[in-house]
């Protein structure tokens, strides 16, 4: 099963709608609660990143026979230094985002923590594609 979502970069109050919808899909088909929780948290972090850093983009979430795979693509500025971005506490987010409770530099580390695999394809000026995988 594949679900596709447009992630708007315009309205931060809508951030999380894709993750929320996909969580209800996983619940409806009776998936393992631990898998649902891990996918939901990682997906939500990635969705927030797509909005904050990528200015919006698209998401494709797929439930396969052996794993859940979710990919976010944006056309933002890309990640300049992946090693720094992976450090807890490092963030390039602005004050406005921090006032909303995000931008604390926990996004990518959290995604890595809750998933079995995280793949990032990015380059400065070329946007970012992030794929997260949770095995069933």
């Amino acid at each position: 099963m594949i679900k596709k979502y447009d992630i708007s970069g315009e309205d931060f109050s809508l951030a999380g709608e894709a993750s929320s919808d996909f969580k209800s899909v996983m619940k409806k088909i009776g998936m393992n609660p631990d898998v649902i929780r891990r996918v939901s948290i990682a997906m939500y972090e990635a969705e927030i990143n797509t909005i904050i850093h990528g200015g919006g983009g698209e998401c494709e979430a797929e439930i396969k026979s052996d794993k859940v795979q979710v990919t976010f693509r944006d056309n933002g500025p890309g990640i300049e230094n992946i090693d720094l971005a992976m450090q807890e506490g490092y963030s390039t987010a602005g004050d406005k985002i921090r006032e909303l409770g995000f931008g604390a530099g926990m996004g990518l580390p959290n995604i890595k923590k809750y998933t079995d695999n995280m793949l990032i394809d990015t380059a400065p000026g070329k946007g970012t594609t992030l794929t997260l995988i949770v095995n069933l």
Binding site: S13, S19, I41, G101
Partner: protein, 119 residues
Amino acid sequence: MLLSDIKNLLDAKVLTKESNDVLSQKDIHTACGCDLMSDVLAFVKDQSLLLTGLINAQVIRTAEMMDIVAVCFVRGKLPAEEVIELANEKGITILSTELPLYISCGKLYSEGLRGYLND
């Protein structure tokens, strides 16, 4: 600790539509006082209460992802109607207390509601 007991200890109002009967059936195992949703996403366990001074929709979204049972807004802060509606839709209880964050946490901790230590 039952959510109804938490409501009484914090002298809190219920902003969502749950009755006292429903609150007395919601059992809270741990609590977290935090304004950083990124930290909530990193550390909080389920069956939890989140106490926070942030009142935007992302608090409810974060609670939804973490299976957090209830959110308590401190220092008398009231969220926009859309935030309350979202919480109602997701079955997350919203409380509002006049107490500040530190005192709210202290009252609950001293009555036995513990936090979660990350391993």
